[in-house]
Every structure is written in C-alpha cells, then in structure tokens.
Amino acid sequence: MNAPVYNFAYLDEQTKRMIRRAILKAIAIPGYQVPFASREMPMPYGWGTGGVQVTAAILGQGDTLKVIDQGSDDTTNAISIRKFFEKTANVKTTTVTSDATVIQTRHRIPETALNDNQVLVYQVPIPEPLRFLEPRETETRRMHALGEYGLMHVKLYEDIARHGHIATTYAYPVKVNERYVMDPSPTPKFDNPKMDDCEALQLFGAGREKRIYAIPPHTKVTSLDFEDHPFETYRFDAPCALCGSKTSYLDEVVVDDKGGRMFVCSDTDYCETRRADGHKGAGFGADHQVM
C-alpha cells in the first residue's frame, strides 16, 4: 500500500494562494472579516481548522512553529497540530516562544513579548462580535460597513446593569485602527492590551465560519468600555505556585476534593523558562498539605 503523499503543509498550492489573498486583504483592512473558501481539514470544526489553514498558507520551509492551547504547549490540541505540521511540512517545531517564527494559538497570547519576525495565528470559533445581539448576517455586515456599533455597547451596558461591572471576561470586543469592531477570539481580556501596537503580525482564522481577519504590526487596538466603567484586566490575586510570577495570567487548578487549589501560569513556556532561570514559587503544598 502506498502511503499518502501530501503537498508541503497539507494544502495544495492553489488553496494556499486563495488563503494568502484573503490574508493580504485582511491585512490591508485591519479588523475586517474577509470571507474565504474554507476547506475541509482532517480534524473536526472547533479544533482549529481556521487557524490550521492560515498556518498552512503562511508556513515556509525555514519557519519554526509553536502551537499553544490555552497557553499550554502540551495539551492534546496543541500536540496534534504540532505533529500535523511536523508530518506534512517537516518544519522545525519548538515550545520556546522567542524561537518560534509562527505561533498558532487557541485562546491565549504568550506572556513573552512578540517581535517583528513572528506571526501569531489565532483559532477563532465565532468571528462576528455582534452575532449574539444581531443574528442576521446581512444586518451585521451592514453595521460593520456603516460603523454602527451602538449595539456592542448595549452588551456592555447589560453587563453593568446585571453585575455592577463589565462581566465579559473573554472574547472582549476591541476596536481595530479606530474603525472595525473585532472579536479577539476567546482570549481572556487580560491579553487584550498585548494586541495593541504589537510588533508581530496577528492573523485570525475561523474555519467553520469561513472568515479571516488580521491586525497588522503596530496597529492601534482599543478595548471598548464606558467613561465611568473603563476597561480593566483581571487576574487571580496570587503569585504562580511554580515560578512565583506576579504578572502572568494564571490557571486555577483544583488539586483535591477538600477545596485545595493552586494557581499556576497558563503559559507553560513562560513558567518553565522562569523556573530554569531560578525563579521559584511557594510551590504546591506550601500553603496546602497533601493528605
């Protein structure tokens, strides 16, 4: 039996050209959702089919790829996608943020600042920030075209009316280049400020919804808010238990059924690098006894 022979990075060259054209258009109109002919990928929708197509279209032989899922390099989704490109493109892969040239991410932006030699590719489930308020695609497109974004503030208003503060914690809407309102994919709002004036190119791919959008390097990205309820980031008030970082975004890990929990960096590479540099957290068990 013959083993299947793939084109470099799985997709055929015509498809890659089509996706690259969509990407170029997206870069030319920051924050605008460009429709593209999304392909079936050998993975289910919701697993990053959009991100994978964007990565496949921009990947070159000299690139080094890093894939993260919720900040982590070693979860199923991240490992499968990394292996997928190792197999189909034979590119170098890494877990070290600063070594990577292409970083595909699901729901996080790395803690380490990105540089102008890097591209961050986001996996996006629902690209339309207005979707849950206005179900008609024809209407949301018109609203984008005419810059009618009053509705987006209705959502934030509802948050404050119900909870006393803006309770949206992820997929927090941003305005790109003072024009298009954009869904930053379900990243925590902690990451929103990192998108502003970022040195790296940021690309967003939604496979099921067939949309690509982009933030070119050094583009102004502002989070929507009210004058009397300004945008605020949120982070658990604790240092990382492993590396002691007081500034990174933390995951809460439940460690037993007696209420024990620990907080650790969600960005595994950042945490490991810090530990290798000699930083130490209070550690698991310091304020919690293992039974």
Partner: protein, 260 residues
C-alpha cells in the same frame, strides 16, 4: 421665514404599484413641525404602503419625499446615502411599530433598549445613559425598578410605552406610528393615547399616524387623510372630516363606529 413656518416633510405625487396591483396612488401632502396627521382607512387601502414609503423603507414607483434636515436644508430622501438614512432613522425620526417586538430588543433590558440610540450616537458614559433611560421610563409611566427587566417580561401596554420611550430618547422631530394601539385592550389604549397626546404637545413632535380606528384619529390628530383603494379620497381638519364627512365612503366609515 421662521423654521416652523416651513414644512418638515413634503410628499409629492407618491405612487407605488406592485406589478398591475396598485398599492398607493398619487399622494401629496405637507407636514409642518408639531403637526399630527392621521391616515385612516380600512385594511388594504394603502396606509401602510404609504407609511413605508414616507419612512424610506419602501422605494416609491413614482413621486418623491423630501425632509427638512436639522441643518434647515430640505432634501429629497431618495438622494440620501444609506448611512445618512439610517442615521436619520436613529436620531431625528422615530418609528413605532404595531407589534412592539418588532421595535424592541426583547431579550435586552428596558434600560438598554432606551439607551441603545444614545450609545449609537456616541454616548460613552454609563451613568448618564442610565439616568436618561430611567427618566424616560418615568415619562412613559413605567416604574423605574423595572429598568433591568427585559421587555419580554412586560405586558402589552408597557411594551408599547417602552417602544415609545426608545424612539423619543434622541428627541426626534418626526415620529411615524403604525397602529400603535392595535392589539391593546380599551383601557390600556386610552392610557396610551393620553400619554402620546401629552408627549406630542410637550415635545412639539410631528407625527404621521396610521390607524383604522377613528377614535384614535379624533383624539390625537390635527388633520386626517382618508384612503381607499390606494387613493386619498378626503382630507382636512380632523373635526371637519369626522363631523361633516363629504365622501360617501368617509360617511360610511364614520357611521360604522359603534356608539360608546
């Protein structure tokens, strides 16, 4: 000439045909600031077609509608771009639907429903938006402790009043109403009409109201246009038309009201 002496809305030879069928034929009138015009007639007489053409939701087959914008210049509505038209619709105009579910966001709180137009024109201060919303709820006699409830929890009369508040919050000069009292019971209707009459006087609104209910026309409007088969058959001051109808059809319409 003072601004109030010039018409706000001018409609000239407005016609709409759907193929061979005529929706509305050769309607002309002028509406002045602060004036309430009722369009009455039975179902299928072209009232709603006319209202939709006036409010740029439907393109006329013939004729034109012009509107005196806030800058004092009267412009043909057909020449406005879509952005300008939609902006007009959210600021200087109001449109009260017969079914409040069409004009409201049913799953969003009352406060946000009223505040949406303000946010759409760039208000960015939560406290001020909420204050304005709650003062409007008071004006339409909705208790302010219902401000965070969604209109789907409201009664029919309350929904209609909320829809009115949502439309009036940007202080429009012209409001279109399509059977605003349809589907409400009589006592709720009376209260709503009373409220609308008060607001119209207070704010000096110009209103085009479509209704098949002559009592509504008598209570609210200064002038009446009677339509039949897509044509205006009689027009004049409300009292004049309703107390001394000239056209046989209008006589029939007036005499068909059940005595109270």
């Amino acid at each position: 000439m003072r601004d109030n002496d010039r018409p706000l809305l001018v409609c000239e030879g407005l016609s709409k045909s759907y193929g061979r069928h005529i929706g509305c034929k050769d309607v002309s009138f002028q509406l002045y600031p602060g004036e309430v015009l009722a369009i009455v007639g039975e179902s299928g007489s072209g009232k709603s077609t006319l209202l939709q053409m006036l409010s740029t939701q439907l393109q006329p087959s013939k004729g034109r509608v012009s509107y005196r914008m806030r800058d004092g210049i009267t412009r043909d509505l057909a020449t406005l771009g879509e952005a300008e038209r939609r902006f007009l619709f959210r600021t200087d105009w109001g449109y009260v639907h017969q079914d409040p579910a069409m004009g409201l966001r049913m799953a969003v709180s009352a406060g946000a429903n009223v505040g949406e137009r303000l946010m759409a024109v760039g208000w960015g201060h939560y406290g001020k938006i909420r204050e304005t919303s709650s003062s409007w709820l008071e004006r339409v006699e909705i208790s302010t402790d219902r401000i965070d409830d969604a209109p789907k929890t409201y009664s029919g009369g309350m929904r209609q009043r909320l829809q009115i508040a949502r439309n009036l919050v940007t202080e429009p000069r012209l409001v279109f109403m399509d059977e605003p009292t349809g589907g409400l019971d009589v006592s709720v209707q009376a209260r709503l009409l009373d409220l609308v009459r008060g607001l119209v006087n207070e704010l000096g609104l110009a209103v085009v109201i479509v209704t098949h209910d002559l009592a509504v026309a008598r209570l609210l409007s200064h002038r009446v246009m009677v339509m039949k088969g897509g044509e205006v058959i009689e027009t004049g001051l409300t009292d004049q038309v309703l107390d001394d109808p000239h056209e046989p059809y209008t006589q029939l319409l007036v005499s068909s009201i059940l005595p109270a």
